[in-house]
Assembly symmetry: C2
């Protein structure tokens, strides 16, 4: 059942998730971690923001994406976590009432040179709303355990 | 008082923040957004993890970094938010009991070609603990308003 380094190959694709974005959660995250007015003040955001609406913190969109990735993939994977992320982008703001899903395509798999029990997997990971509009894209670099 | 695009120049440096990382907050964030066992189970993390300790979700380290950035910079800046982040890295795990601070160096400033009221600023942003050990580094790309 567990996904190891050897189980992932370039071109593999996964699609999953149905994360409902609520105004309450946008506000709670932003008040704690990103209290900029366009994330915390719905009325001012509607009237003054270039986005015309309250929008989620980009870090919140990343966190919601991570929750879908854990529920549908990492909870059954032998992963040591991520070394980093390249090309993280927020091409469109995440809005209250949207439903997010995730698409992962494996770009590259490479055994670690320094640690023979591990391998590095690079993916293109995209988070979209119910209409297929991209909210977040990124290229994470994740460490997985190798089979014996 | 407000920081506009024109107030930022390549080579500018800012240093600030003293964010105390608690086990409770690591657990709360991870249970909601990144429920992998090395973020949610202190005992198992201590005994089985390659890190030898409970560690914060990388998205949580990003969120804590954002909070320091907002408190000390964006709360007084005419910013429209970030287009994205390049080269996000977590070279060392964030541990309970650490105190984080942030260092920002402006790399590049560029007026927007499509929107003359805006400019793009690229920085190298680094989050370190009280001993100067780097926990997160990244190159955010942020939109600022231009002065009239």
């Amino acid at each position: 059942m567990t996904v190891y380094f050897e189980d992932l190959s370039p071109g593999d694709e996964l699609e999953f998730g149905a994360y409902e974005v609520t105004e309450d959660e946008i506000l709670a995250f932003a008040e704690q971690y990103d209290p900029q007015w366009f994330h915390t003040d719905p009325e001012r955001a509607e009237n003054e923001s270039i986005y015309g609406s309250l929008i989620a913190s980009g870090w919140h969109t990343g966190a919601m994406t991570m929750r879908m990735l854990v529920d549908e993939h990492f909870s059954d994977a032998a992963s040591f976590g991520a070394l980093g992320v390249d090309e993280l982008r927020w091409p469109n703001p995440t809005l209250p009432g949207e439903t997010l899903s995730v698409r992962v395509e494996v770009l590259e798999t490479r055994p670690s040179e320094s640690s023979p029990d591990r391998g590095v997997v690079r993916t293109e990971t995209t988070t979209s709303n119910q209409d297929g509009e991209t909210k977040l894209s990124m290229k994470p670099i994740v460490l997985y355990a190798r089979r014996e």
